[in-house]
């Protein structure tokens, strides 16, 4: 295997963690994961799944900082009072909603029963050679199980806010979301960090969507220039379930998200939308794997990258249609804007198809802003900078518009606008 051995500081911190806290994973899963962590170390660029993303930043201890206060909170929670807010600070659960609507329960992982913990840590077996997943499985002590009962619609969004506080090692969290039959919910994951302060979160979210349930899953990484995030979601869809993932990443030194969706029964549908806007020296990376494991299922995937300055955007999306999963419609597009010669975009839209009666297509483009469009706007008296901004905003808006509420659309839109203005001012 093309791996570097587990860095010494990480091995030490692993030993520390294991001696100071009770791991949340059930015994045998934990034992396997611990062995894997030591055996696998960290992936390198020679590992096919990591050929564009360098984990060099993790090979030495994270830089320490004098800042110990948690970052100021921004955004969702303030501007939207009607949310169910859950907060983690550096991997520790610090806040739970005071009241929960009927049909919804939240259980901290420490209090979860064996079956819940087993479900929360199940994905280890499905994901071979995933060193970071093994690391999370071996060390995660904190997390949650969110259960939504059958036939319940939870109207206020459930907000999982991660305050990525500086810490000596990774914040390892594990979340399990179970949506009962015919239920509906919106889950928003946001991260907040302080500029210039390095933090690392290695988190895992597992979602199980029962028959006819619907889950909107938003992941919003809107700030931070020193934040390291390695995060994966494992989602399973039962019959007629609908899952929509909207992944918007605007900040972070290194953000690597992996989204695994497994459609296991007919009639289910999955949307995967993403927008990544790397700038400065940011590396923003998303890998999606979507498996159509049953006939008569559909999916729509749209990912866009806007790379500026020395930013690097990476997208890899795999759509797998299993044998006998006939009558599938899967559409995937990767459209990208490269705005600076120091920036880089790497994209790899993949189709892996084992059934014949399918309609699958993908398209990928990389280009810059359209000269003619810029010229048109300028001829109407709009300055070069504004014309550029308009076109970038318009391109980003195609994904932002997919957010489920007008408030969120406006809020994220404003953050992007502010960022473009700030860049312009610089």
């Amino acid at each position: 295997m093309n791996r570097t051995p587990l860095p010494e500081w990480l091995a030490n911190s692993l030993i520390d963690t294991l001696s100071s806290q009770q791991p949340a994973a059930p015994g045998e899963i934990h034992t396997t994961a611990r062995a894997q962590v030591i055996e696998w170390g960290l992936p390198t660029l020679r590992d096919e799944e990591w050929r564009w993303t360098n984990l060099r930043a993790l090979t030495r201890p994270l830089p320490t900082s004098d800042v110990t206060a948690p970052p100021e909170t921004i955004g969702v929670t303030d501007s939207m009072p009607q949310v169910l807010r859950i907060r983690f600070n550096g991997g520790k659960l610090v806040e739970l909603p005071k009241e929960l609507p009927d049909g919804m329960t939240i259980t901290p992982l420490q209090d979860a029963d064996h079956a819940q913990r087993r479900a929360a840590f199940a994905p280890l077996a499905q994901s071979p050679n995933d060193a970071l997943l093994a690391l999370n499985t071996a060390t995660a002590a904190e997390g949650l199980v969110i259960d939504i009962a059958a036939n319940v619609a939870i109207t206020p969004p459930i907000v999982l806010e991660f305050l990525d506080a500086p810490s000596e090692t990774a914040a390892q969290t594990r979340i399990l979301v179970r949506c009962g039959p015919h239920s509906r919910a919106t889950l928003i994951e946001t991260a907040t960090s302080t500029d210039g302060v390095t933090s690392w979160r290695n988190s895992v979210l597992v979602a199980e969507l029962a028959v006819s349930s619907q889950l909107n899953h938003l992941s919003l990484g809107l700030d931070g220039d020193a934040r390291l995030l390695t995060d994966r979601s494992f989602v399973t869809l039962a019959r007629d379930a609908r899952y929509r993932s909207i992944n918007i990443q605007l900040g972070g030194q290194l953000v690597r998200r992996e989204i695994d969706v497994n459609i296991t029964d007919t009639g289910a549908h999955c949307d995967l939308f993403g927008l990544m806007m790397p700038r400065a020296k940011q590396v923003l990376d998303t890998h999606t794997r979507l498996t159509h494991g049953a006939a008569h299922t559909t999916s729509d995937e749209r990912y866009q990258i806007i790379a500026d300055e020395a930013g690097r955007g990476i997208f890899k999306g795999r759509i797998l249609v299993a044998q006998d999963a006939q009558k599938i419609e899967a559409y995937q597009s990767s459209r990208n804007l490269l705005l600076s010669d120091s920036a880089e975009i790497d994209t790899k839209p993949e189709l892996e198809i084992y059934a014949d009666d399918v309609k699958c297509s993908h398209g990928a483009t990389i280009g810059r802003l359209d000269d003619e469009a810029l010229y048109y706007l300028k001829s109407r008296g709009i300055s070069s900078e504004n014309a550029r901004k308009l076109l970038i905003t318009g391109f980003a808006q195609e994904i932002v518009d997919q957010l489920p509420t007008p408030e969120l659309v406006e809020w994220v839109g404003q953050i992007i606008a502010r960022r473009l203005e700030r860049q312009q001012a610089e």
Binding site: E48, W52, Q323, D324, Q326, N336, L338, L339, S340, D341, A343, E344, I345, D346, T347, K348, P349, E350, L351, E352, I353, Y354, A355, D356, D357, V358, K359, C360, S361, H362, G363, A364, T365, I366, G367, R368
Partner: protein
């Protein structure tokens, strides 16, 4: 199950049982080095071929590097580990081995060539016989053939005409003796000895191949062609081809392959290097029909090939066209390094897989020069239990201003027990780059078949028409001689496979 469906099933089964047309073995004495690989074997190969010192050193260096490498695992293919010590690394027909020793004793005419060898080529329909061409028995053809029988080049035709134009077209061994400076200058400059696992192995043990040199300003007066065949049991075939087109030169090269039926898997790890200087054009066309294994997936050729063209000069152009129908496993990515400003790279491919064949093939377009352009058109057709993957890289370097790429990958599935995959890698580091990639996967629609049938066209003909139309863009790029062969090959490969 409907009646139509039953017929379809039946037809597919009939197809599956079709036998490999070219499965026969020529029974002639062979000069084989016992199986195994070590430095002594490499020295022996080199000595047998009377090679100069620099080449032996080059081989040994490659071998030592190979020892440190591991076989690539990223491809979408599965096969048991290969025991490289169980293979024999050199096999030459007796007569030819003698030829290699004494250049002068080469047969003066085809009469002197082992008749059994000529017979083999007859069966394959290679237009080797100049007399046949003159007599008008075979199709009049403007093709020069350098036939490769296992490892040693046997005879070269049309030499006189080529020499007149100043074109060098000979076996690699000959070139090593007669043009060592050219070999020294260009060998390994496109595919370095340690490029990848199989290229390193090839560099260490390559037996023979073809060498083409087209001097400045010359347009090669005819199509050049090599037919590769793998014949002896348990011998890996390690061909090495080097084509150099100097400033303003133009050459079209055809490579065709068929191999006799064998039960055990055979390894083929060839290397092809193309060098195009300013304003030069190289067109490299391949029809590959090696033994794919039987309907159980037993046997067949492992085709692990490194092909790369270096569009070194300004305004140079390299075109790869391939029709891949054979081999149990294909691992092949003909690539273009677009180094010269305004250089052009093209890749046109049809890959057909059936039974238990596995294909992981595609191309790499590395844009380094300004205003470089590349086009990729890849068509794959999978039937039976086969797996057919396109894997391609488009890389736009920071230096490549105004580079342009267009990629189209279409996959056609026939039957529901096979797979079609697309793995495009797209990397851009220059804002002026324009890259487009599109891919579709589908089966032949019932509507299309129904429409044609309602016009009185049989189901099979309708299918053929649709498949031919699906591949047309690629066939159009093939030289005349190959286009006909390719269409026939496709028809045979897919006969009756669709309902």
């Amino acid at each position: 199950m409907s009646k139509e469906h039953m017929t379809e099933q039946h037809e597919i089964e009939t197809l599956m049982q079709r036998e490999y047309k070219y499965g026969f073995t020529t029974d002639i004495e062979q000069d084989i080095i016992p199986p195994g690989l070590n430095e002594d074997v490499i020295r022996l190969i080199s000595a047998k071929k009377n090679e100069p010192e620099f080449l032996l050193e080059w081989r040994l260096k490659a071998y030592r590097h190979w020892l440190t490498m591991t076989p690539p695992t990223w491809a979408q293919v599965h096969y048991p580990p290969i025991d490289y010590q169980a293979l024999s690394y050199y096999a030459a027909p007796k007569t030819a081995a003698e030829l290699a020793e004494i250049e002068a004793s080469k047969p003066k005419s085809l009469d002197e060539v082992d008749p059994k060898l000529l017979e083999t080529y007859e069966k394959l329909g290679i237009p080797l016989h100049e007399r046949a061409i003159l007599a008008g028995v075979a199709q009049p053809s403007n093709v020069a053939v350098d036939a490769v029988f296992d490892s040693v080049s046997v005879t070269t035709t049309f030499k006189a005409k080529l020499a007149e134009a100043g074109v060098i077209f000979c076996s690699f061994s000959e070139a090593v003796h007669n043009h060592p400076d050219l070999i020294k200058k260009y060998l390994g400059t496109v595919v370095p000895a340690g490029d990848n696992y199989y290229a390193a192995l090839n560099s260490a043990v390559f037996s023979d191949g073809s060498f083409v040199f087209v001097p400045k300003g010359v347009r090669c007066p005819m199509e050049l062609s090599t037919y590769f065949r793998i014949n002896a049991k348990n011998t890996g075939q390690f061909e090495r081809t080097l084509i150099v087109a100097e400033e303003g030169a133009h050459v079209s090269y055809l490579e065709g392959c068929t191999a006799p039926q064998r039960d055990e898997n055979q390894l083929h790890a060839a290397v092809v290097e193309l060098v195009a200087l300013d304003d030069a054009t190289i067109k490299y066309s391949t029809v590959q029909n090696w033994y794919p294994g039987d309907e159980e997936g037993k046997g067949g050729i492992y085709n692990f090939v490194t092909k790369r063209g270096d569009a070194r000069g300004a305004r140079s152009k390299i075109t790869w066209t391939q029709v891949e129908a054979g081999s149990a496993i294909t691992w092949k990515y003909p690539s273009c390094i677009l180094r010269g400003d305004d250089s052009v790279g093209e890749f046109y491919s049809v890959a057909v897989s059936n039974n238990y064949q596995q294909v992981d093939s595609g191309t790499k377009m590395i844009h380094l020069g300004k205003r470089t352009r590349s086009t990729i058109v890849s068509k794959s057709i999978s039937a039976g239990h086969s797996q057919n993957a396109y894997r391609g890289l488009v890389h736009i370097a920071k230096s490549a201003d105004d580079a342009r790429n267009y990629t189209q990958c279409d996959a056609l599935l026939i039957g529901d027990r096979n797979g079609a995959h697309t793995f495009p890698y797209i990397e851009a580091k220059n804002t002026t780059a324009q890259i487009e990639h599109e891919a579709t996967t589908s089966k032949i629609s019932d509507d299309q078949i129904f429409y044609l049938q309602s016009r009185g066209i049989s189901e099979e003909n309708a299918t053929n028409m649709i498949v031919n139309g699906f591949c047309k863009e690629v066939f159009n790029e093939l030289p005349m001689e190959f286009a006909v062969e390719a269409q026939a090959l496709l028809a045979v490969s897919l006969e009756g496979s669709v309902g």
